[in-house]
């Protein structure tokens, strides 16, 4: 089959016929998929490709970023003053809480030393912006503007001001892909803050709901209970809010009850999240060198988070 225009060049013409080229490329695709699915061999290929498509991400993100900064520039002076005052008030409150926490942290550290426990309280964090890029609509995922160059690693936990957001599933050179705790494929080990009852919160695919499928009908849990991360599994730091129970439906005919929780963090409204490093040496030891980007951001973002809530 030789179309008259076909010979008039294009991208990557080769001597093979259309059918042969199709079969060859299809085989390459299938091989790529198998490699990508079975093992994580293609990490480097993905990283290289992601550098190539990075301009597209920037292109998409740029109008939104510009709009946001324009909106800030044209805000009324009075609104700015009001916001400033509110922020000052909030800062005062936060500092007040922080003083108390600092005391508690030292006390905790002392007690842990007495107990000869190695649990670490200190965490290092870095602010990451969520890129305005829509990923697959069927999955609860998003892109961040931090990558390998910032020291981000797969499995790293993400927090926002209200609680746990999710974790990193893929790291490219300048960006990273994160999955929300509400994604249908993820689960967070949690404990009920009121009584320490441990269980697992599973995502539903709906950004406003978590399920607790592994609690029996006799479990001591009720509407309004705060769920905090238990730290089991080592991915998420312990003690941060995950969600609040909104519905407990006992199912007498089955052994497990149906429990629904609402995520604590503003999963679908966040613009920025905190990347958390859990690997800091225990307080007292010399601090590990922060990655350059973290250092650049300064004290404000590279703050040491206490077990705040």
């Amino acid at each position: 089959m030789s179309a008259p225009g076909r010979t008039a060049a294009g991208f990557g013409r080769s001597g093979f016929s259309l059918g042969v080229r199709f079969v060859l490329l299809a085989i390459v695709c299938v091989a790529l998929m198998m490699l990508d699915q079975r093992q994580q061999h293609l990490q480097r290929v993905r990283q290289a490709l992601s550098v190539v498509v990075y301009p597209v991400r920037v292109l998409v993100d740029l109008p939104f970023r510009t709009w946001q900064s324009a909106a800030v520039n044209f805000t009324e002076r009075s609104a700015l003053i009001a916001e400033n005052e509110q922020l000052k008030r909030e800062r005062l409150e936060a500092e007040f809480r922080l003083q108390r926490l600092a005391a508690l942290e030292t006390e905790n550290e002392r007690l842990r030393q007495l107990l000869d426990s190695t649990e670490r309280v200190g965490l290092r964090a870095l602010v990451a912006k969520i890129l305005s890029v829509d990923l697959n609509p069927y999955r609860q995922r998003f892109d961040l503007n931090r990558g390998v160059t910032d020291g981000v690693y797969v499995g790293q936990a993400l927090l926002d001001a209200q609680g746990i957001v999710g974790q990193i599933v893929r790291v490219d050179a300048f960006t990273a892909e994160a999955v929300l705790i509400t994604d249908a494929d993820t689960a967070v080990p949690v404990s009920v803050n009121r009584n320490g009852l441990r269980t697992i919160a599973v995502g539903t695919g709906d950004s406003g709901r978590l399920r607790l499928p592994y609690l029996t009908n006799s479990a001591d849990i009720k509407v309004g209970d705060l769920l905090v991360s238990s730290g089991i599994g080592g991915v998420f730091p312990a003690g941060y809010p995950v969600g609040r129970v909104v519905e407990v439906r006992l199912q007498p005919e089955q052994s497990f009850s149906e429990i629904i929780a609402e995520p604590a963090s503003a999963l679908d409204r966040d613009l920025e999240v905190l990347l958390v490093w859990n690997d800091q040496p225990a307080p007292g030891e010399p601090k590990a060198a922060a990655p350059p980007a973290a250092a650049r951001l300064g004290e404000a973002s590279t703050s040491k988070l206490a077990d705040a809530n």
């Binding site: 013409r13 695709c29 829509d134």
Partner: protein, 161 residues
């Protein structure tokens, strides 16, 4: 001069297309988002002067996979199949009236979605089937819109062939 221009338009249209595919949309409109890259590739390979080859489809597919975090090669394979079919039969399809062309495009876009869905199923990624049939419809509408917008230029191009 003519050669550089003939490269410029398709490349820019492809980059814009990639961007359109990931622009954030409100949740209510999100399910309506057409598969932009598939639509544009079909448009060019059915009606345009022979510009995009299978290799272009392959690289564009890999770009989508990288951008959207899909399995590497998933979109590439789906795009390859529909561009191959369009390429293989474009001479026969070209004499079709617009209505039948639109149906062909709809079927090809449906096939594209089906391949994506199928691969998702094979590798065990849980994705809902609901609303998967909407993008082919909106895609066909976009394709028709492109046809009417750019028809004159394309007819000239066709006359040159």
């Amino acid at each position: 001069m003519a050669a550089s221009r003939s490269w410029f338009v398709p490349v820019v249209s492809l980059v814009l297309t990639l961007a359109l595919g990931v622009v954030p949309l409100p949740d209510s409109v999100e399910p309506l988002r057409p598969d932009w890259v598939a639509v544009v590739l079909l448009y060019w390979s059915l009606l345009g002067p022979r510009r995009f080859s299978l290799l272009t489809a392959f690289w564009m597919g890999l770009a989508i996979d990288t951008l959207s975090g899909a399995l590497l090669g998933q979109n590439a394979l789906a795009l390859l199949v529909i561009v191959y079919l369009a390429d293989r039969f474009h001479l026969r399809l070209r004499v079709f009236p617009v209505s039948q062309l639109a149906i062909t495009v709809f079927v090809l876009l449906g096939l594209y979605e089906f391949i994506l869905f199928w691969i998702d199923g094979i590798v065990g990624r849980s994705v809902p089937m609901t609303e998967r049939w909407v993008p082919p419809i909106t895609g066909t509408l976009v394709w028709l819109a492109m046809l009417f917008l750019f028809d004159r230029g394309q007819r000239e191009a066709r006359a040159r062939l």
